[in-house]
């Protein structure tokens, strides 16, 4: 079962993909990277001469697009269709899990987080549980999530880059490795400038690029190959019986249990991802928080509803033009990871269009990596450095620490993506297991059960980290244990697969946190009132945080509650 997803060949070279330097697509990708910078400069963050004067606020739709761009990575753009192409119905677990997560977020977390009103996810954990250790564990987890998540993005950038720019022939490096490093370096350089770049405006632009590229690619492919006309999202159903049973029959490739485990892990992981949650701290009010989530989900669904169609077209084209996609040897994971681009090429579309679709994939990877790295750098510079190590740290020192963390994250990611052991979607899902296991229970219990205390949170998070590592070691992720072979214990591999380990570990963390909290003291009265304030039905003034409301109330009437 270690092969939850069929595995790789060591030299990542997607077969059937015409790897060479392509002038027009290369120009399109370069122009797109450049336009990010141009947009950034046009909307650059102007000086705010007086911080007490209200500026223009960001609307629901704009916020929703920013959520979409931040969220949809190479895993959504390339990996989702890839997994559906490789594993058929199993891949749908990603579509279901990643959208369900937003409902949980909408109902239980978005508005409540807004009320708590802090800066970062570790801020919430540290302040809610009154503990610097809890803050530190949350910060390290945030950093780890950024790292694990980015490996998949690096793989996506490398594969698409290889397709467009060809193998530059750097001695000692394969074409994939050279391209992966090149695009990661560009992303890090882009981040160095990000302070000057208009954050939300740029994200809206990135979203538009990636959704237009994906949909145009899908419609054009469907049209040119004669699969579909106006609604490929539904019309691909006509292909289902033509495709082999591996594609269309449920639970042939993977078990029912693995399907559920993956979906659960992805859904709750979504709610625990720091770079998703930060957007809710900054919206105007709770109403905007909720509506932004709804719009975000809509903008995400536009792509998600189309991915299965793309995968079906791609699989069929691959079988017709290259070799049968299933059976032996079948489609490799490297080819699947670029199926979106490959399908466009195989249906005989002009190369500029293929380049445009590829550019969308890179836009998705760059936007998400930027968001992840910023979340990781703020965890280190704000939560660990400025809050724990050096409380008098000046703004500039924090900036240096933050930039160094970004570089460290980049180097770690490049090292891990040098010879990735799994497809994009699987790599990314390890990060979701981690978020669902360690952070989601803290957010959920922290906001909804006032009795959760420091001891409970600390034991819960440590248990979560250990539980996350067990299946990772068992399956030898990142080639650390037994040179990538892992421990190979069958029971763990079957019931706690790394790709969906949260189905077992998340409930365990909940139980541990609750039991330990009940066995130890109540948290302070102020903390409990703060929790109640976060989900009280009474509306709250716009410019207040739960903490301030509680502070004021305790001043006025200590007997309240």
């Amino acid at each position: 079962m270690a092969a939850a997803v069929p595995l790789q060949e060591s030299a990542l070279l997607p077969e059937g993909l015409n790897v060479s330097f392509k002038l027009l697509p290369a120009a399109i990708v370069s122009a797109m990277m450049l336009s990010f910078l141009v947009i950034g400069f046009i909307y650059k963050v102007a000086d705010t001469d007086d911080m007490w004067v209200a500026g223009r606020s960001i609307g629901n739709i704009e916020n929703g697009m920013a959520i979409g761009a931040n969220w949809m990575s190479a895993a959504s753009y390339l990996g989702m269709a890839a997994l559906i192409a490789l594993s058929g119905v199993y891949g749908l677990a990603f579509v279901v899990g990643w959208t369900t997560g937003y409902f949980v977020l909408l109902i239980f977390l978005a508005a409540q987080m807004r009320r708590f009103g802090k800066y970062t996810a570790p801020d919430f954990v540290g302040d809610r549980f009154n503990s610097d250790s809890a803050r530190a564990i949350a910060a390290i987890t945030t950093f780890l999530i950024g790292f694990v998540y980015a490996i998949g993005q690096a793989r996506g950038m490398g594969l698409v880059g290889l397709y467009i720019f060809g193998d530059p022939g750097i001695p000692g490096l394969s074409g994939y490795q050279s391209m992966m490093i090149l695009f990661m370096v560009i992303t890090i350089g882009y981040l160095a400038l990000s302070g000057m770049l208009g954050a939300t405006k740029n994200m809206v632009f990135q979203y538009l690029i990636l959704i237009i590229a994906f949909l145009v690619g899908l419609y054009a492919t469907g049209w040119a190959a004669g699969y579909s006309t106006i609604l490929p999202q539904l019309e691909y159903a006509q292909l289902i019986s033509a495709l082999s049973a591996e594609f269309s029959e449920p639970f042939v490739n993977e078990s029912y249990y693995l399907w559920i485990a993956t979906a659960v892990s992805l859904a709750f992981g979504t709610c625990g991802l720091p770079h998703v949650l930060v957007r809710f701290y900054t919206v105007d009010n709770e109403r905007t928080a909720r509506w932004s989530t709804v719009w975000g989900l809509f903008f995400i669904a536009l792509l998600y509803l189309s991915a299965p169609a793309y995968a079906a077209f791609g699989t069929d084209l691959y079988s017709q033009n290259i070799r049968p996609a299933f059976g032996d040897p079948g489609m490799t994971s490297a080819a699947a990871d670029v199926i979106v681009v490959l399908a466009t090429q195989l249906s005989g579309l002009p190369s500029w269009l293929v380049g445009f679709v590829a550019a969308g994939g890179i836009a998705a990877a760059v936007a998400t990596t930027a968001g992840l790295f910023i979340a990781g750098s703020s965890a280190i510079s704000h939560d660990i450095y400025a809050n724990i190590i050096n409380e008098d740290a000046s703004q500039r020192k924090q900036m240096i620490v933050g930039r160094l963390s970004i570089v460290a994250l980049g180097v770690l990611t490049m090292a891990a993506a040098f010879d990735p052991q799994a497809p994009i979607a699987a790599l990314v899902s390890y990060a979701f297991s981690l978020a669902a296991t360690v952070l989601f229970p803290m957010f959920f219990l922290g906001l909804w059960w006032e009795r959760t205390n420091r001891q409970g949170a600390l034991t819960g998070m440590i248990t979560g980290l250990i539980l996350w590592l067990i299946p990772m070691a068992n399956e030898g992720a990142f080639g650390i244990v037994n040179g990538g072979a892992g421990l190979g214990i069958d029971v763990i591999a079957t019931w706690m697969p790394a790709i969906g380990s949260a189905i077992v570990s998340m409930p365990l963390v909940f139980v541990v946190t609750i039991v330990v909290s009940l066995m130890t003291d109540n948290p302070p009265q102020e903390t409990r009132q703060m929790v109640r304030q976060c989900h009280s039905p009474r509306p709250m003034a716009q410019d207040r945080t739960a903490e301030e409301v509680v502070a004021r109330r305790t001043d006025d009437s200590p007997a309240d509650d």
Partner: protein
């Protein structure tokens, strides 16, 4: 000679080292004292996240508790010391690139003198951390008095 004196401050000891000098000159000239705090948006984007930069731009400064408290404490120190000396102190909070804001503020408010602290960093530390004071010197036309601060010396 000096009617309006500007003290840019980030609340650090380095910045506060300059306050005494500013105060003395202000008293002698019966000048108005301006205390300016600048939230460095470049620093905020990597330490708190780009979303927080958006938040500042939206004028949501009042709900960013920690940053607001830091800003208020920084300019509040100057206001307190000034009040003791019987001087009028104007507090101002802004966000952006520090040296540019300081220069603009000096221009817009007819500042006659800027008084600010400096670390006196050298070598690698200077290359890495740079100096807001040095950049301010280059971007403003107002006279600048630099007060060097060295710890434990």
């Amino acid at each position: 000679m000096y009617n309006r004196i500007l003290v840019p401050t980030d609340g650090s000891e380095v910045a506060e080292a300059a306050v005494d000098h500013a105060l003395s000159i202000a008293r002698d000239n019966n000048a108005e004292l301006h205390a300016l705090y600048v939230a460095d948006t470049n620093a905020i984007s990597v330490s708190l996240g780009t979303e927080q930069v958006d938040r500042i731009r939206q004028g949501k400064f009042s709900e960013m508790t920690e940053l607001r408290e830091q800003a208020e404490a920084a300019t509040g120190y100057v206001a307190d010391v000034g009040a003791e000396a019987g001087l009028e102190v104007i507090e101002h909070h802004a966000g952006g690139v520090p040296h540019r804001i300081i220069a603009n503020y000096a221009d817009d408010n007819d500042i006659d003198l800027v008084v600010m602290g400096s670390h006196g960093r050298t070598g690698v530390r200077r290359a890495l951390l740079g100096s807001v004071t040095e950049r301010t010197l280059r971007s403003t036309r107002a006279p600048v008095l630099v007060v060097d601060y060295r710890e434990n010396e």
